[in-house]
């Protein structure tokens, strides 16, 4: 196999073979049973041909035959079950890793990537790895163990016939290499060609409404047919060569059989004691080549991995959890938030915040205003810890944000954004998402405070109404109420509101702001908004205001250093 393997695949391969040891042992034992079975069959046949005395020996051989068959069937079941578990374990491991890494990267780390695309890696690409671990790895191991074991037995039984078998076996990879069309290369080309057609077809079907609405259906159908034809012609050119390697296998198997028969046919006359040996070796031929055929059959599973490996390799390793210098926790109630000379830029050409300082005392509200793109959401993401400043300090009750234990920091933060995500699950589960351990009283309080009672009462299944994918669709205002209920249930001392009403129409907005006022009481609040109603609301509470437009303007003029 003449390709430079991708390091990720190499690592998977190594762990795969390590995990497959027991399963390979079982399958190897199964082949050993096959050898014993062939031996018993040979003795029986010899007895049948009256060259060995029938009677007890024959019955003994029949018994050995039966036992070997039963043992082999049992071993087969065990090996296959283990192979399934190998694939299952690999999928569990990879899926866990992919999701952990993606979740650790967080919303800022995954900016601009479509959640459906990421989910495809976690679901479908991981499924592809099943074929690799559950089929390719065991079949590959067995393709070495099986012929090795059978060849050894053959050599020990009759070295000439054994040699024929071993040479025929070695001829298979040799023939592939000499022909210059290693099974790997040819199969890879075939597989890639097939994959390309499948990808094209999948792509056109996914976009079928786009094609139809653009009035291009017939043109695309013709293009698809032409692509399939071109692909067939190209693939068949490759395959006509590639199949020569399978033919090498057939040729080796047929030649081994014929040569063994020729080796024994002349000497058997008058040498009856050789009869069982001859029959035994003939019966070993299929046993010898079966694992090689099995190996050829799983090549697609190996090739499929090439297509997904890139995606897995592109995933960063778990981002190193920077050990906090001095782990601190702060009093959970009454929080003071401070920014000191904080600077943040997406890159050199896109500075967002420069040298920003402010302080929000316990129970106070800070209003952030300014046009989109001036950094309101950036400030919120910095406080949430999704982004890290290039310079400056962000502190809560005097403790640097990055020095806090993540769990403690999370516990202090409440957040409501523009579009709360509603998960697949009941309303109750969606609210309890904030705190699954909350008691019934707390849940009811949160529902009442978020003014959700009316909605819940109107639903036939009440709290148990399923939401999200395939469930009841809630409106923007209802979704926001669920977010507010979550925030009540979490009861965090620092509340971050990121444009909480920007998607709502004014009547609903006023209503939501009322609920938010109730939520804000006694908490330290940062409210980012450009809605005039929300600004008025902040003023009635007596919020401090930072206008990021003015700030930017000021920094241009050099007023703020």
């Amino acid at each position: 196999m003449s390709r430079a393997p991708n390091p990720w695949i190499k690592a998977e391969q190594k762990s795969g073979f390590n995990a497959a040891r027991l399963s390979l042992f079982l399958a190897g034992a199964g082949i050993a049973c096959g050898v014993i079975q062939a031996g018993a069959a040979a003795r029986l046949l010899a007895a049948l041909l009256r060259v060995q005395p029938a009677g007890l020996t024959a019955w003994g051989s029949a018994l050995v035959f039966v036992l070997a068959v039963l043992a082999r069937a049992w071993l087969q079941i065990q090996a296959e079950r283990r192979n399934f578990e190998l694939g299952a374990a690999a999928r569990r491991r990879l899926r866990g890793k992919v999701l952990s890494v993606l979740m650790a990267l967080g919303p800022a780390g995954l900016r601009g990537r479509h959640s459906a695309e990421l989910a495809a890696t976690a679901v479908d690409r991981v499924e592809v790895m099943d074929g690799f671990h559950a089929r390719w790895v065991p079949a590959t191991g067995l393709a070495i163990i099986g012929p090795g074991l059978v060849g050894l037995v053959a050599l020990l039984t009759d070295w000439r016939a054994g040699l024929i078998l071993v040479i025929a076996g070695l001829f298979v990879p040799f023939a592939m290499a000499v022909a210059g069309i290693g099974a790997g290369i040819a199969a890879k080309k075939q597989f890639l060609a097939m994959t390309r057609l499948q990808v094209r077809f999948m792509d056109r079907i996914r976009g079928i409404s786009t094609i139809v609405l653009a009035g291009r259906a017939e043109g695309e159908a013709k293009a698809l047919a032409a692509a399939a034809k071109e692909l067939r012609e190209r693939t068949m050119r490759v395959l006509r060569m590639a199949f020569l390697s399978s033919t090498a296998l057939d040729l080796a198997a047929a030649a081994a059989l014929v040569l063994i028969v020729i080796r024994f046919a002349p000497v058997l006359r008058g040498a009856h004691e050789l009869a069982p040996t001859a029959l035994f070796l003939v019966l070993l031929v299929p046993e010898f080549f079966a694992p090689l055929r099995g190996f050829a059959a799983v090549y697609g599973d190996r090739m499929a991995v090439e297509a997904v490996a890139e995606e897995f390799q592109a995933l960063p390793d778990d981002p190193p959890a920077v050990p906090p210098v001095h782990i601190r926790s702060v009093a959970a109630h009454g929080v003071t938030l401070a920014f000191e000379h904080v600077t943040f830029a997406w890159d050199e050409t896109r500075p967002v915040l420069e040298n920003l300082s402010f302080k929000v005392g316990r129970g106070e509200m800070l209003l952030l205003t300014g046009a989109s793109g001036t950094g309101k959401s950036t400030i919120i993401d910095l406080i949430l810890g999704f982004l890290a400043p290039q310079a400056g300090r962000i502190s809560i009750n005097g403790a640097m944000l990055e020095d806090l234990v993540p769990a403690a920091r999370t516990r202090m933060l409440g957040w409501i954004g523009q579009k709360p995500v509603i998960f697949a699950g009941t309303i109750e589960e969606n609210i309890r998402f904030a705190n699954p351990a909350a008691g019934e009283d707390e849940l009811q309080d949160a529902i009442r405070n978020a003014h959700l009672e009316e909605l819940i009462a109107s639903l036939p299944q009440g709290l148990k109404t399923p939401l999200g994918e395939g469930g009841f669709g809630v409106s923007g205002g209802q979704a926001q109420r669920i977010a507010i209920a979550r925030a009540f249930l979490k009861d965090a001392p620092l509340l971050l509101l990121d444009e909480p009403t920007s998607h709502l129409d004014p009547a609903v907005e006023q209503d939501i702001l009322e609920s938010l006022k109730h939520l804000a009481a006694g908490r330290t609040v940062v409210l980012a908004t450009h809605s005039s109603q929300a600004m008025d609301f902040a003023k009635t509470i007596g919020a401090k205001r930072i206008d990021l437009d003015a700030l930017r303007y000021a920094s241009w003029r050099g007023v703020v250093a």
Binding site: L48, L49, V69, A88, G112, L197, T210, A265, P266, V282
Partner: protein, 542 residues
């Protein structure tokens, strides 16, 4: 007609190749069996000291078998590649005709992906199921002839043979069919859980729910694995039973040799070895068949659903004006389902910019489907430029209305080919002008091969927002007076969405615009805003 038969009928378009493939396959199988039988015969004769047959014959049969196997592979693949192309083109045409709206707008990409997987499953039907089954049938007379020469009773071996070749695969097919629904459901659950965890990542982080979400995904995964484990266990058990039956048959043939012709017995044993080897794969084929049956049903249903809205026999001439009006329109998806809306009236004057807002699932997208003639009203009329659209040809109507929705797709193809879908006759200057309008000209110019850069898998990757702007450029190239947008930025973050609408506002000045949205981002430039709730449109502040 059963769906499998419907798919098999498609094969009839390649009769020559498929016939040759079957013929070569059967000949190769026969040669293999004869080779084994003949080897046994020669050996047995040699052992009992009989006449020595000419081993040259053996070499000939061996060579023939190798050559036939090669021919079988080449012809079989040629045949299957042809059949596979036919199947895909048939499926594409059928879906394009029947269900563009149903599949493209309502069903998720996931359902489409499953359909494509179903088509892949059907590829195995011919080579992996049909041909081996024919082989098993062919083996029957060969076995009868061989076994009869040994001893009349040896015909009993046909019982385990038929058991392995026919009964076990049938059982496997049934087990797979029963399992398919369970596994499909578990897979859908897993997908939803993974999507939830990633789509709701902000909430997940803030509520420290990483562990819980991971546990949820793992619970769904465990359900999937359980369903698969069940099928594997069943398949493994059936394979083991088939193996035991096969070996039992061989042992029976050996033992009966003591009653009959010993030389015939040796030949029979080797023939049986080859014959059973050929059919021991059939239980697995049975599993595949069980899955293929379900797949075929879905594929045939999707491809043959028929056009959703009948075309007028004689379409009216396209009106010159482009205003759209709904007059007392009522709609429901089926007679037994509740109305999505009743008696809905709406005016979209030429040049106006309107938004319809409403929760997902309320049926706003139905308005788009109605305008595009993907569904038709139960009562009431929709007029385009004053003419009832029922009298207009769907294609002519769609040339006036450029649609961009969340399902609007960027193809894994060059930037150029993606744009040309909007206007196949556009020259480079026109393409660049469209890219300029959506502020993508710089981005595309910076790609290694400019307009000919490959997008998507294996090519240049554009960000989600840039992708939507490319789709918008294509929509603009259609040069339609009406632009219809349905949640064009679903799945993207709010900042990207706002950016998109800022570009959109400038690029669509002067056209009639209808936006169908969940919620406003604040960046849209609009004349009127309607809120769609409870099946009625309510004016919202604008």
């Amino acid at each position: 007609m059963s769906p499998i038969a419907r798919i098999a009928l498609l094969w009839a378009r390649q009769p020559g190749w498929l016939f040759l493939a079957v013929l070569l396959s059967l000949a190769a199988l026969a040669a293999g069996v004869v080779l084994m039988g003949f080897s046994g015969h020669v050996l047995a004769l040699a052992i009992v000291g009989g006449v020595l047959a000419v081993p040259v014959m053996l070499a000939w049969i061996g060579t023939a078998r190798v050559a036939l196997r090669y021919g079988e592979r080449v012809v079989g693949h040629e045949a299957i590649f042809r059949a596979l192309a036919d199947l895909r083109v048939w499926m594409f045409r059928g879906m394009a005709r029947s269900a563009a709206g149903g599949l493209g707008l309502r069903r998720s990409g996931d359902a489409l992906a499953r359909l494509v997987n179903d088509v892949d499953t059907l590829d195995g039907l011919f080579l992996r199921i049909f041909v081996p089954l024919l082989g098993a049938i062919l083996l029957l007379p060969m076995l009868v002839w061989t076994l009869e020469r040994e001893h009349g009773l040896a015909l009993l071996v046909l019982v385990p043979f038929c058991f392995v070749a026919f009964w076990v695969p049938w059982r496997a097919a049934r087990a797979a069919e029963e399992n398919a629904a369970k596994a499909g459901l578990a897979m859908a659950g897993l997908r939803i859980a993974a999507l939830d965890a990633l789509h709701g990542l902000r909430e997940v982080k803030i509520y420290a729910a990483e562990g819980r979400m991971l546990a949820e995904v793992q619970a769904r995964e465990a359900q999937l694995l359980a369903a698969q484990r069940e099928l594997t266990a069943e398949g493994t058990k059936l394979s083991a039973i088939a193996f035991i039956a096969a070996q039992g048959g061989i042992l029976l043939a050996i033992l009966l040799g003591f009653l009959g012709l010993p030389i015939g017995a040796v030949a029979a044993v080797l023939v049986l070895t080859a014959a059973f080897e050929a059919v021991l794969g059939l239980p697995r084929a049975g599993l595949l068949y069980g899955q293929a049956r379900k797949a075929a049903a879905r594929v045939v249903q999707a491809a043959e659903a028929g056009p959703p809205v009948p075309e007028p026999a004689v379409p009216a001439a396209m009106p010159s004006r482009n205003a759209i009006t709904f007059e007392h329109v009522s709609f429901r998806y089926a007679a037994d389902r509740p109305f999505v809306f009743e008696n809905l009236s709406l005016q979209l004057p030429e040049g106006s910019r309107t938004a319809i807002l409403g929760p997902s699932g309320a049926g706003k997208s139905t308005i788009a489907s109605l305008i595009l003639k993907l569904v038709q009203p139960v009562s009431g009329q929709i007029r385009f430029g004053g003419t009832d659209i029922a009298q207009l040809s769907a294609e002519a109507l769609r040339h006036r209305i450029a649609y961009l929705g969340q399902t609007t797709h960027l193809f894994a193809d060059t930037v150029r080919n993606n744009l040309l879908l909007g206007d196949p006759a556009a020259d480079d200057a026109k393409l660049w002008a469209a890219l300029e309008a959506v502020q993508m000209a710089d981005v595309v110019a910076a790609l290694p091969e400019g307009l000919d850069s490959w997008l998507g898998e294996g090519g240049a990757t554009v960000s989600g927002g840039q992708g939507r702007r490319l789709a918008l450029a294509r929509t603009l190239l259609m040069n339609a007076p009406v632009i219809l947008l349905d949640e064009p930025c679903a799945g993207l973050d709010a900042a990207t969405e706002q950016e998109f609408f800022r570009v959109f506002n400038a690029a669509t000045e002067g056209r009639t615009v209808l936006l169908i949205l969940h919620r406003l981002t604040g960046a849209e430039y609009l004349d009127r805003i309607w809120r769609f709730t409870g099946g009625t449109l309510v004016a919202a502040a604008g």
